[in-house]
């Protein structure tokens, strides 16, 4: 019988038994996980930036409180994921170095600008919506700490998409100008949201191995199709138009057919040439550098407090 005690890595994977930090695992599995989990963590904290742009300009106190709560959640998601990566033997500082030096990637969706308030709606609805679609199957990923982090994240994500949809709904049912603003945001975020699922299965080099290791459970194209199917229906409720002239219901497959994705744009943004790549990285680096004295002071303060306590005990 293969269980958590008996059996080696391959047997456990085959029997869907979770791998834990101190279990033996192939080097490539460890490397793949560190890369994927840290990229994911970077995406959470870089993803705070486009929304941070609108905190001081939220149209009401309620919207502002909600936006702040959402952004705070994303910071927490970053923490859960960095912690999961750290169980694989890499340090937090090493991971942040990789982000700051440009060696590590993050989701390229966050290299697009958030130009209007409607973008807060479109991001929550489409970007968080796509993220949830990606993340739900990861709750069953074979690596325990990653799967557990994803469970916590998915629980918190559900309000993110709803608050975004609510913003879109209010705008779409508002004045002509508001409706136009909502449509414009949908036009700009639709295609980048579809790109969030990654290259087509036929072009995705990592998919096959990740599926074998049960890190990934559903392929990029399957997830993307699922996202299109549910989101198109939601768009109808909003009374907005999906910016895709090839979008059509296919009764035979039971899914929507949709137009070709501009992969040249996708790779261009991944390579660093998107509208905000530079700005995002600069903001992250500045936050890290400006926080240095705080990190040092907190450590010095902790040591002082400890010394004072020890002196008190000795006296």
């Amino acid at each position: 019988m293969v269980d958590a005690i008996h059996g080696d890595f391959e047997q456990k994977i085959a029997n869907d038994i979770t791998i834990e930090p101190r279990d033996t695992m192939p080097d490539d599995y460890r490397k793949t996980l560190i890369r994927q989990i840290s990229q994911h963590a970077h995406s959470e904290i870089v993803g705070m930036l486009p929304e941070g742009n609108w905190v001081t300009r939220a149209p009401s106190l309620r919207r502002k409180a909600v936006l702040l709560a959402k952004i705070q959640d994303e910071g927490g998601h970053g923490l859960y994921l960095y912690s999961a990566a750290e169980t694989l033997g890499v340090t937090r500082d090493e991971l942040l170095d990789q982000l700051h030096s440009g060696k590590a990637k993050y989701s390229s969706i966050f290299n697009y600008p958030s130009l209007t308030w409607a973008d807060m709606g479109a991001i929550g609805w489409l970007v968080d919506g796509a993220a949830i679609m990606n993340q739900v199957p990861l709750c069953r990923a074979s690596y325990g700490p990653y799967a557990r982090a994803m469970v916590r994240i998915c629980k918190e994500e559900s309000f993110h998409q709803r608050q975004g949809f609510e913003i879109m709904h209010v705008l779409a049912k508002g004045t002509e100008v508001q409706k136009k603003m909502a449509q414009d945001a949908l036009n700009r975020w639709w295609w980048p949201a579809l790109m969030m699922f990654g290259p087509h299965d036929s072009d995705s080099t990592n998919t096959e191995q990740s599926m074998k290791w049960r890190i990934k459970r559903i392929s990029n194209d399957d997830l993307r199709r699922k996202f299109v199917d549910v989101t198109v229906e939601q768009t109808k409720v909003l009374g907005l138009t999906v910016p895709d002239k090839d979008l059509m219901w296919n009764a035979e497959t039971g899914h929507y057919d949709f137009g070709a994705i501009n992969w040249a744009e996708f790779w261009n943004v991944v390579k660093g040439n998107g509208p905000c790549n530079k700005q995002r990285l600069e903001a992250r680096k500045a936050a890290w550098q400006k926080g240095e004295w705080v990190r040092e002071a907190a450590m010095a303060h902790a040591e002082k407090r400890k010394a004072r306590k020890e002196a008190l005990v000795a006296a």
């Binding site: 005690i5 008996h6 101190r22 923490l79 340090t91 937090r92 090493e94 907190a298 407090r305």
Partner: protein, 99 residues
């Protein structure tokens, strides 16, 4: 700048949370903090924002000693052949309705 920053990294802490009165503290995750007090404050901020807890324990990760998974077989196997420790091992006459 690269890795010389590592020596400044705040220590890692494991966070345990009691979700409601009467339940055990359960491992929730980990975080970095300069000392125990800060670890508790940070744990409150990240792990109990939605009323997930009423009590927090933090332990510096380096102070946790864990069993070696490679020794799992010798550690836990001896329990395997002692099924008489389970109530289902015993046959009761049908007349006994409740026990």
């Amino acid at each position: 700048m690269a890795n010389e920053t590592n020596k400044l990294e705040w220590p890692l802490w494991e966070v345990f949370i009691r979700s409601k009165a009467g339940l055990d503290h359960k491992h929730a995750g980990s975080l970095h903090a300069a000392d125990a007090q800060m670890a508790i404050e940070n744990a409150r901020d990240v792990y109990t924002r939605r009323m997930e807890g009423i009590s927090i324990w933090v332990v510096e990760s380096k102070n946790i000693f864990a069993s070696d998974p490679k020794e799992a077989e010798s550690l836990y196997d001896p329990a395997n052949d002692k099924i008489y420790r389970h109530p289902t091992f015993y046959n009761l006459p049908d007349e006994v309705k409740y026990m």
